[in-house]
């Protein structure tokens, strides 16, 4: 097989090579143009010379399979792939700016900025996981941003697609990935757990907020394996002003057992965007690493090293939805609120990893200036938060599964829809407003939510009164 010599000006399947922009260990990136395509384009051509690492070939095959099957703002758009028999390549959208790697000189970053970057990455991961893919190489150099702000995840050479053959499964005797970011289960050759990406994101959050990598940079297998039993130093030990909520989030991501981490990227994104709602546990308080007795117990606990049942990507996602329930705190709504509680209870009992966000919308006047205090100087906001907690009380939910939110808006339906969109809500429960003057005047909030939401919506009504 004669490989065509690639030079600037060569044309491959309509793509004109302009200039090489990056020479990596496994591939060369060319800036290319194509008549009729306005998007800036990159072409990735693997370096498959004589005696090349066969892993590089397999990794490129995987990326060629996965990338054309992905869509949405969080992945580079694929414009074509080249046949391995002729010239293997991937033509894709060139993203603006630099990867997160360019920020390494600025570390540690302010806490709010770390949370904001983390939330954008978690949102991108949620989107990727919903497309059946675990990235398995989340690190600063694989994260870019669109001008509109969305994080874009690049490089799918190590990824796992749960609906396609995993060509990497037999390829390596040693775990493959980027040492500082690799999850404990990846070290045990488990490639199908989406929570591995949450671990890597936890490493990134730790690193960006402290300037220190939680598990060092050791590339040796022995050095990497330490993370199977040794917990990292709590960030508060490194920066005394480290916020407990951020430590809670970061250490939860870095749990050795995937089951102790966030169940989904959406739930992680939720906490990163609602610091005041993060339930603090003993993780948040930690000032020192686990004592040696604990570490030794973990070190020789065979359970942790035992192979475990499969946690397929989609099963993991479906087991942990975010449910939002819209509550009207008006006294007249008691019957419908009771019905909402019954529905919420049923839902939460069947999916124990689901979390519930209780919403109340405080309607703002279109013209009049609103005050947040009532006649007696009471905060309306706090009253409503108390009211939401009171509504949720009988559900007896674990505090970590419950959050309460008062939204302020002129248009309640729009506020609920926006909350659902921004927080990757999977299911909205909303009561139907009973026939009333208000409904005639304002239209039905539930009808608009049901019609326009991008997730499932259940419109709940109180039981029919028995006929007289």
């Amino acid at each position: 097989m004669v490989k065509p010599q690639l030079t600037a000006g060569s044309v491959i399947d309509g793509f004109r090579l302009e200039e090489p922009v990056h020479q990596g260990g496994m591939a060369t990136l060319w800036r290319v143009t194509h008549a009729g395509i306005d998007t800036p384009l990159l072409m990735k051509v693997p370096r498959i010379a004589e005696g090349a690492d066969p892993a590089a070939v397999v990794s490129f095959e995987m990326e060629q399979m996965i990338l054309p099957r992905l869509s949405g703002p969080h992945v580079p758009k694929c414009f074509g792939v080249g046949d391995f028999a002729v010239l293997p390549y991937i033509a894709m959208e060139q993203l603006p700016g630099k990867s997160l790697l360019s920020r390494l000189g600025d570390l540690p970053l302010p806490y709010a900025e770390v949370a904001e970057i983390g939330a954008r990455i978690a949102t991108a991961l949620d989107d990727l996981h919903r497309q059946h893919v675990v990235h398995l190489d989340i690190k600063p150099s694989n994260i870019m941003f669109r001008a509109s702000g969305e994080a874009v995840l690049v490089d799918y050479g190590l990824s796992h697609h749960e609906q396609l053959p995993d060509l990497m499964q037999e390829e390596f005797r040693v775990p493959f990935g980027t040492a500082p970011y690799m999850s404990p289960e990846q070290l045990r050759d488990i490639r199908n757990d989406p929570r591995s990406d949450l671990f890597a994101l936890g490493v990134l959050l730790y690193f960006f907020s402290t300037g220190v990598r939680p598990f060092g940079e050791s590339e040796s297998l022995r050095g990497m394996r330490r993370r199977l039993w040794r917990d990292p130093r709590p960030p508060r030990q490194l920066r005394s002003d480290y916020p407990p909520w951020l430590q809670e989030i970061v250490l939860k991501c870095l749990e050795i057992e995937p089951a102790w981490r966030y169940p989904t990227a959406a739930q992680l994104a939720f906490d990163l965007t609602h610091p005041d709602q993060v339930k603090l546990t003993q993780r948040a308080e930690r000032l020192a690493r686990d004592p040696w007795t604990v570490v030794l117990r973990r070190r020789f606990n065979t359970d942790l090293k035992a192979p475990r049942a499969k946690a397929p990507v989609s099963a993991q996602l479906y087991s942990a939805p975010i449910v939002a329930v819209a509550i009207d705190l008006d006294e007249h709504a008691a019957a419908v609120n009771e019905a909402l509680r019954v529905f919420a209870q049923r839902l939460l009992e069947t999916v124990p990893s689901a979390r519930l966000a209780c919403l109340n919308v405080r309607r703002l006047g279109r013209i009049a200036l609103d005050t947040t205090l009532d006649e007696r100087g009471h905060s309306k906001q706090i009253d409503r938060l108390v009211g939401l907690r009171h509504w949720a009380g009988p559900l007896e939910l674990d505090e970590r599964r419950l959050t309460v939110h008062v939204l302020e808006a002129v248009d309640p339906a729009a506020a609920i829809l926006e909350f659902a969109e921004n927080n990757r809500v999977d299911h909205i429960l909303i009561g139907a407003r009973q026939a009333s003057v208000m409904r005639k005047l304002l239209g039905s909030v539930s009808a608009k939510v049901a019609a326009e939401a991008t997730c499932s919506v259940t419109v709940v009504r109180p039981p029919r009164p028995s006929p007289l």
Binding site: D13, G14, F15, H34, P54, V57, V58, E61, Q64, M65, F79, G80, V81, D83, F84, A85, A91, E162, Q163, L164, P165, D166, L167, Q169, E170, E171
Partner: protein, 260 residues
Amino acid sequence: MRQSRDAARIRTDTVLIALFADIHANRQAFEACLAQARQRGAERYVLLGDFVGYGGDPVWTTETVMGLVADGAKAVRGNHDQAVDAPSAAMNVEAQVALEWTRGVLGAAERQFLATLPMSLRDGERLYVHAEASDPAKWIYVQSTVEASRSLMATDAQITFCGHIHQPALYSLSATAKMTAFTPVADVPIPLLPGRRWLAVLGAVGQPRDGNPAAAYALLDTDKRELTYCRAAYDIAAAADRIRKAGLPVWLAERLFRGK
């Protein structure tokens, strides 16, 4: 770029092939698969053996297969097809009872057709065989990468298609002799990359055993080199009824509902 590559090719190369294995005289299942495949644009047919045995409609099934072959379909012999004329002591009791009955209802032409089917067929870069390629007459079940690699080593075909085990699976052998195994998801096209060789084990049309009672078959897009494992719902009660009416072991009817 896909478009430009397509344009450079001769369009008549693009063919959607429907592949069926282990029909086992289940008329309702085979009809449902054929209808779905035609609706999805199938232009050619490959029939991977075991047309009879277990099910209640061996005559209709064999005549239908003969008709498809007369129109250009490719067909190979399965162990049940062979056992019609050459009874095998290796088969389980239910299978032997069903074959005994089948032998009685098939006409001479059908029996002649089944007895003279080839053990395997080469079709360009593809190989069709009922059980596996290393020794087709031994009817070895491909249960793991062990049998799969033995089969792949025995042929230079890019893609081998087989059935026999009634559970869909997809194996690949890389240029560096690494095997991968995969349980396909229905209706998700899988690119069969040219850099490696593939063994596609089809689920059964007429007696699925992977826990999903829907009839199984596959579609191959020869241009995109994409293989899609498909499932078609069918009237299981009617197929079970045919088995009971024929006086065959009731268990053969019951297992259709469970797909086990």
